[in-house]
Symmetry: C2
Subunit: 401 residues, 2 copies
């Protein structure tokens, strides 16, 4: 008789953003005239840049002709895209990552979850709190032992290397979702040393790298010497190029990163990821890979950066507005997220309800990201300028009343 | 210290088609002038139908404008596509599957592999031999107990319900890859009865359903009463509409299909698949879902069926040619695969080498699909008419020499 993976009974029944959606839906039903502004989920709103759409359409037309039709693609992704990434993201910045180390996928979320397939179960895993729920849920599903790293105002919301704690796997997201804070070089050096010492793997989520404005902050973990022996870096076109609906990302596994079997032998981790992907995956659509390639042309890249600037302007305006309200506000400078302390005595969900009812604003309750997020809310900077402006005047109106 | 999932050491080091690729590459290097014809991997060669490309391009243009831009999509796929599938594939054929039961994905291969995430480990799994390697490998990776169902000439290459064997999970692929044989209604009824008796799940792979010409053969397992309580059906646009490079498929989990926890409680299986997909996946690109929708318009569907006819004509011609060579040939009538016995005393790989060297034809060695495939080769009918004709004259030339 078929039995369930019992670990699935231990995860929250529904995904945080599904819960929020239900609340918003109920409010909307009861208040059909309210114009709701969404600053909850981290979805982009700017359309795709023209060079990207042109790349997508040209590749689509290729699929209509027998001479240029493409069926199954290379398992790791097309060389044209892996080469473009290796060149623009790594080599041109002096980082020694080659196209061979890059595996194209449909997004960071898939890779983050699927990556656990190739590792043993029952691992000791270090995860920040608050955190992007996917790290937590995927590890619960595998039956791993999770050790939380509290991220609070007193440590600048950055995870600290623990004392007397062994670790097999460490999640680091920088710039961070949900707090909008970014790891310094020194902080990352500490983590790389610790991982080398522990023979652990760091899963480095760089999905928001494009938002980094401060040049002293690392954009890739491979800027840290030794990281190529311990770190897997996951990246995405979702935020950099607005691909949340087009789906493309990639995972970097350097050839020198080894993993051990029970009998003590070392194997290149990349070989097992390759085996997993060739067995359970068939790659990203050719047309999407051509669209992603277009994001690295001069024109495409400039258009992407213009959108990033657009969202960062929103972040700045929101941060200032919330500060005017008297809230303590974090993030927003090198990230599209604003992390704000709720007014005295209000829980995250209470303040969520308050903002939904009084200002028709949807934010994300910080407690949805973990216990240490209680007493905070997250705002995303991905709305339009117009909606952001409107949201700010509604926040101001609340103060005046 | 990070350890490996030890099960990965038990699967073959590389994927069958990667091995073939290496052999072909070596031959090609040694014989640069040889014009190789590929009848190995099951990749389509006909370009996408015009209505599908037009759908893809129109949706791409939508992504360029703020008013029509789409970011993250609904987790199960867009309603427009799930509704089209429910209507055209099921309801219009009198099968009671609704849009709610349908989960859109990037393809059957992903779903087949990822589906095991939500089940317990150490299951008793029944798998045909020969078989599509993905069923075998994904179950080895999970540490399940595999029981092989020999498919031989004496049983028409169809898996038979075993006596005195318990089962949790049963894989059935019809029309079959690699043998090209199709399950009869009676054979499927036997399997559904057995699954009901065992409280087991049937994973029914209908990727080649579009090739069925004989109206007495079931196109969906849900044509069999009771299947809605035990069967998950996986389908794909890869062969039906030529989407091997565009990536779209879907999995059907009827709401009445229950799975049990250790403490004996029953849960709807679909809830756990939904939880898995929302946590580890972000859906199929909007543009690809619009392209898939176009395959169900009258014009789109007719164009897809024209391509199916094209491949079936190849299959028929190849079958006849191989019979002329004196080989025993199976399949090819309701499927794009031809399953042929090798000439006396030759193993599958020997005959593979012979055909590569003498006729510059790439086929798939039957033994690559399992021990019971030894002594057979698989040909795919997906080449062009011209290449198929050329392959046939090369085969005839071999006989004459």
């Amino acid at each position: 008789m078929t039995r369930l993976n019992e670990n699935y009974l231990k995860v929250e029944k529904s995904y945080l953003f599904t819960d929020i959606e239900h609340k918003v839906h109920a409010f909307s039903e009861a208040n059909p005239d309210a114009k709701i502004i969404r600053m909850g989920i981290g979805d982009v709103t700017r359309p795709l840049a023209r060079p990207i759409v042109d790349g997508l359409k040209a590749a689509s037309e290729e699929q209509a002709h027998v001479e240029t039709f493409k069926g199954y693609g290379p398992e790791k992704g097309y060389a044209f895209l892996r080469d473009a990434i290796a060149d623009k993201v790594y080599l041109s910045r002096g980082i020694n990552i080659t196209a061979e180390d890059i595996f194209i996928s449909d997004g960071a979320k898939s890779d983050m979850g699927n990556f656990l397939d190739i590792l043993a179960k029952g691992l000791d895993v270090l995860i920040a709190d608050p955190v992007y729920p996917v790290y937590m849920d995927t590890n619960i599903m595998e039956g791993n032992r999770i050790h939380k790293l509290p991220c609070l105002a007193e440590n600048d919301f950055l995870p600290q290397v623990p004392k007397d704690q062994k670790a097999d796997l460490i999640y680091i997201c920088s710039p961070n979702n949900p707090t909008g804070m970014t790891m310094t070089r020194e902080a990352l050096e500490d983590w790389v040393s610790y991982a080398l010492e522990q023979d652990a793997i760091i899963l480095f989520d760089a999905a928001y790298e494009a938002f980094i404005q401060d040049d002293s902050l690392p954009r890739s973990i491979y800027e840290i010497p030794g990281a190529e022996k311990v770190a897997v870096e996951v990246r995405s076109f979702s935020k950099f190029a607005g691909f949340t609906g087009l789906r493309c990302g990639y995972t970097v596994i350097p050839s020198g990163l080894m993993v051990r079997s029970e009998d003590g032998q070392n194997y290149p981790l990349a070989d097992f990821w390759m085996r997993r992907q060739t067995t359970k995956y068939n790659g990203v659509p050719y047309v999407v890979q051509r669209a992603a390639e277009a994001a690295y042309t001069d024109e495409g890249y400039a258009a992407c950066m213009e959108n990033i600037r657009y969202y960062l302007d929103n972040a700045k305006a929101l941060k200032e507005a919330l500060e005017t309200l008297g809230l303590k506000v974090y993030g927003a400078e090198n990230a599209p997220y604003i992390w704000a302390e709720t007014p005295a005595d209000q829980t995250s969900w209470e303040y969520f309800d308050f903002l939904l009812n009084e200002a028709h604003l949807v934010v994300t309750p910080g407690s949805g990201f973990g216990a240490c997020g209680e007493g905070y809310i997250r705002l995303s900077a991905f709305a339009s300028h117009e909606d952001t402006k409107e949201a700010i005047s509604r926040l101001n109106a609340i103060v005046k009343n």
